[in-house]
């Protein structure tokens, strides 16, 4: 069962992404691995695909894996109110410092732009990381994950 605070954040996603995030979080105490699962997802295993640039499937998976630590680091800075994001704070949160009022579309656009990823595709992973911070409490999350 998802908490009301989770629901406030998850409901910002389109319905199909809400379904996927809910399925990924089902029965999990630690939410963060679910964010990784979403970030790395690229279709079923043992599938020889028939499109895209040659071998892009494999490259894409590897590229995403390499991006994840930096992506998480930047997102954590944003959540933990790092001075680097001070200028953006008003456009990223409806209420300053209140995590459940985060505006996912704005955060996705900012992070997508930074990492060259489509905003709509990374939004669910961002939602899961935010839910992790809500669940742990911002202070605990920031003291655990902020570098």
């Amino acid at each position: 069962m998802l908490s009301q605070e989770f629901s406030d954040v998850i409901s910002q996603l389109p319905k199909f992404q809400q379904r996927l995030v809910t399925e990924l979080l089902q029965g999990k105490d630690d939410c963060l691995p679910a964010a990784e699962l979403y970030f790395f997802a690229s279709g079923p295993d043992n599938m020889q695909t028939f499109g895209g640039e040659p071998f892009i499937g494999k490259d894409l998976k590897e590229a995403k894996k390499a991006l994840w630590p930096n992506f998480l680091k930047e997102l954590t800075k944003l959540i933990c109110e790092d001075p680097e994001y001070a200028e953006n704070r008003e456009e990223l949160f409806k209420e300053a410092g209140v995590l459940k009022t985060i505006i996912i579309s704005q955060v996705s656009a900012l992070m997508g732009n930074k990492f060259g990823l489509p905003a709509a595709c990374i939004a669910p992973a961002i939602v899961i990381v935010v839910c992790t911070a809500i669940k742990l409490g911002k202070n605990t999350y920031c003291s655990t994950y902020a570098v």
Partner: protein
């Protein structure tokens, strides 16, 4: 004197042919190649097949789009009638800009916005729930387009099995069709002529990594186990 019974049979047969022909012409007009435009060379690399799901919106596989976030283009159909000869030496093409608006990476589906419209009724999306095993399905796409060949091709094959495939712990419904696929066919339409619905989209073939590559081909992909995602996952992304 004309035998009314035979006349009836002939008549319905020609009606069916006309209906099939209209359908095939419809798919000619609503199936496309998705490409990437290199603005410096003004050349287009063809990435795979895609199709119209509603006016202004097309669908393909996420792996067809790859990591391109800009300069995606749809190549406008070269033929509007199925029995037209397609000139393979004609490399001119009309382009329409496309932009990714949504992706489901678990089911390998990408939705794109493109300024493409069809004036008639658009064939609805269904699901592999609507199809029966051993039913004949039609496949429409552009085999070999990634190798530079832009030929709209219609095929038919039986639905061999309905399966659930897992991607990073999320299960999705797939149909296995009994046909060998080639590069360029990802994003092809899978249509049920008996239900008059698009029931799936071609994604790839079952192939475990053999560790061997012959001219870029994994020998284990050379089989008749083509896997197609159920179209219901496309519908849910359009809600």
């Amino acid at each position: 004197m004309t035998n009314p019974q035979l006349f009836g049979i002939d008549s319905s047969a020609s009606m069916l042919t006309r209906f099939q022909k209209d359908l095939l012409d419809y798919f000619c007009k609503t199936s496309f190649v998705l490409g990437h435009l290199n603005r410096e060379t003004k050349k287009v690399s063809m990435l795979g097949s895609c199709f119209l799901v509603k006016n202004g919106t097309i669908v393909t596989s996420t792996h067809v789009v790859g990591n391109y976030t800009s300069d995606l283009v749809v190549i406008f159909p070269k033929i509007l009638e199925i029995n037209t000869y397609q000139d393979t030496s004609d490399t001119d093409c009309q382009l329409v800009n496309a932009e990714v608006i949504s992706q489901n990476p678990f089911s390998d589906i990408a939705i794109l916005k493109a300024d493409l419209n069809y004036s008639g009724n658009i064939i609805p999306l269904g699901s592999f729930d609507d199809a029966n095993v051993l039913e004949t399905l039609w496949i429409f796409g552009f085999p070999h387009c990634v190798e530079g060949r832009n030929v709209f091709t219609a095929q038919q094959a039986e639905l061999g099995a309905k399966i659930l495939l897992t991607s990073n712990s999320i299960k999705s419904k797939y149909g296995v069709i009994n046909i060998q696929s080639r590069p360029g066919q990802s994003g092809s339409i899978v249509f049920s002529p008996t239900k008059n619905k698009i029931v799936g989209m071609l994604i790839g073939a079952y192939a475990i990594n053999s560790g061997i590559s012959l001219g870029g081909i994994n020998p284990r992909e050379l089989n008749q186990t083509t896997q197609c995602i159920s179209a219901e996952y496309i519908s849910e992304m359009l809600e």
